[in-house]
């Protein structure tokens, strides 16, 4: 019998709110976080919209002299981590064994803004002018490193990177670290800062992004017939995972329990999902089995739901394959309809949306759902949050490269 793992802290920086209460309110209200790109002049771009973080003030939670030497993705990670650690009551806590607290925080892309700037310097001014901080700003694993430096956590420390499934792999690895006794507390999740010229150009030329530039608020429309691609978004999400007895002993507030994990690979194509969501089917089944949960016990699925033709069709097929008739009874939604796609941070932010559903008894909506697609015929919780008791929620994430990672969350019962 493995050790039980619960969630005792949360932090988020998202296009629909830079704190958990703001994020919760936005999920309740079905708030849109998508707008015109303001971070660079996108007039020459076919895609000119994104889910940008608004009014971000890193100095509220990060040492001023460090901010300049961090890429924005690391600022989001540190900011959200500080929020989560404070929420868990672990900030400046002298009573815990810091060698038993680890950090696994990922990023799909890493410091691409830094890479762009320093590449320009290299070509304009030569190699001697490239910043000595270029590498430690660019590498994706600098976020867990810096979180540990700030808070003194000396347990397992690394990043994972698996594109849009990054956060779930980070949370899943952290779950296992605690289950198997390698740590008692894990700070985990992901962050991304890809509203950049290079990142938008790259995804745009893959035909992956929506070009609904005239109606940004309606552009992210997962499972809707008229969906035309995902919306690049940015931010970070961090969870504090903790061994149950450790959490109880210090009287921590327990939000929910991590029940199971399913990781698979498609072995099919670099960007397209396997037909019928074959890899997703296996990942969901493994997560259910890992948690000892029967398919008909699942109340809510926070879908990967990117708003691309391919994903939403294949994910729907995968859900139907796993759940059969129950697929039509459970609630599905894609909170990417509100946030856009936070890539490597998506899973962490969506884990928080699952915990919202479990704690608030409210399924967050899929906004912009107007025209049903015959190939997407489940209950996607259209446009308005729905009151419903949620005991079991699963969060799907699928990444370019054919990575599938599914996590099951349970309501906590003593």
């Amino acid at each position: 019998m493995h050790r039980r793992v619960v969630i005792t802290g949360m932090g988020a920086v998202t296009p629909i709110g830079n704190s958990i209460p703001e994020f919760y309110d936005a999920l309740k209200d079905g708030k849109n976080g998508i707008g015109p790109i303001t971070k660079f002049d996108s007039s020459e771009y076919k895609c000119r919209i994104a889910g940008e973080v608004k009014d971000f003030m890193p100095e509220e939670r990060i040492e001023k002299k460090d901010i300049r030497r961090m890429d924005l993705f690391t600022q989001y990670a540190l900011y959200a981590a500080d929020m989560a650690i404070e929420d868990a009551g672990l900030k400046e806590n002298g009573d815990i064994d810091k060698e038993r607290v680890g950090v696994i925080v990922g990023s799909g892309i890493g410091g691409i803004l830094t890479f762009e700037r320093q590449t320009a310097t290299l070509y304009e001014k030569g190699p001697r002018k490239v910043s000595p901080f270029f590498i430690p700003m660019y590498i994706a694993d600098i976020s867990p490193g810096r979180i540990a430096i700030v808070h003194g956590f000396k347990g397992p420390n690394y990043a994972v990177t698996s594109a849009c499934s990054t956060s779930n792999h980070a949370i899943g690895d952290s779950f296992r670290q605690i289950q198997y006794g390698s740590a008692d507390v894990m700070i985990t999740g992901g962050s991304e800062a890809t509203v950049s010229k290079m990142a938008v150009s790259g995804f745009m030329n893959m035909q992956a992004l929506s070009t609904r530039n005239d109606e940004p608020e309606k552009a992210s429309r997962p499972f809707d017939l008229d969906r035309d691609g995902f919306i690049m978004a940015e931010g970070g999400g961090i969870l504090v995972l903790e061994e149950l007895e450790h959490a109880k002993a210090r009287g921590a507030h327990i939000y929910a329990e991590v029940g199971g994990l399913g990781n698979t690979g498609d072995a099919y194509h670099i960007t397209a999902p396997a037909p019928g969501g074959e890899g997703a089917v296996r990942a969901i089944n493994i997560a259910l089995e890992d948690a000892g949960i029967k398919p008909d016990e699942v109340d809510y699925i926070n879908a990967h739901g990117t708003s691309t033709q391919f994903n939403d069709k294949n994910e729907t097929a995968a859900i139907k394959t796993v759940f059969g008739e129950h697929a039509y009874k459970l609630s599905v939604s894609s909170t990417k309809s509100m946030t856009g796609h936070l890539l490597g941070a998506a899973g962490a932010v969506e884990a928080i949306a699952c915990i919202f559903a479990i704690n608030e008894g409210l399924v967050p909506p899929t906004i912009n759902y107007e025209n049903p697609d015959p190939e997407c015929d489940l209950d996607y919780t259209p446009n308005k949050a729905v009151a419903k008791e949620v005991n079991i929620a699963i969060s799907n994430t699928f990444g370019f490269g054919g990575h599938n990672s599914v996590i099951l969350f349970k309501k906590y019962y003593n």
Binding site: K64, K65, R68, R128, K129, S131, P132, F133, P136
Partner: protein, 76 residues
């Protein structure tokens, strides 16, 4: 602004410290909190401003603000 003032301003800006702390006797590492990476970054900033490329073998000689002021002003 004199070269000396400019040098001190760059040190203050790059190391994110108050200009009042940037006195000739201050050690970059011990007093002003610099590390090997921020020292490198300073050298790039001096090159940009004054066109003085400090060879790596000379870094060890530049321990204080005064060392830097003397080196830059005499090699400019």
């Amino acid at each position: 602004m004199s070269d000396v003032e400019k040098i001190k301003q760059i040190i203050s800006k790059e190391l994110e410290i108050d200009e009042a702390e940037v006195v000739d006797s201050a050690s970059l590492v011990d007093d002003l909190g610099a590390d090997s990476l921020s020292v490198m970054e300073l050298m790039i900033a001096f090159d940009d401003e004054f066109g003085v490329e400090v060879p790596e073998e000379d870094y060890d000689k530049l321990l204080t603000v005064g060392d830097i002021v003397n080196y830059i002003t005499s090699n400019k």
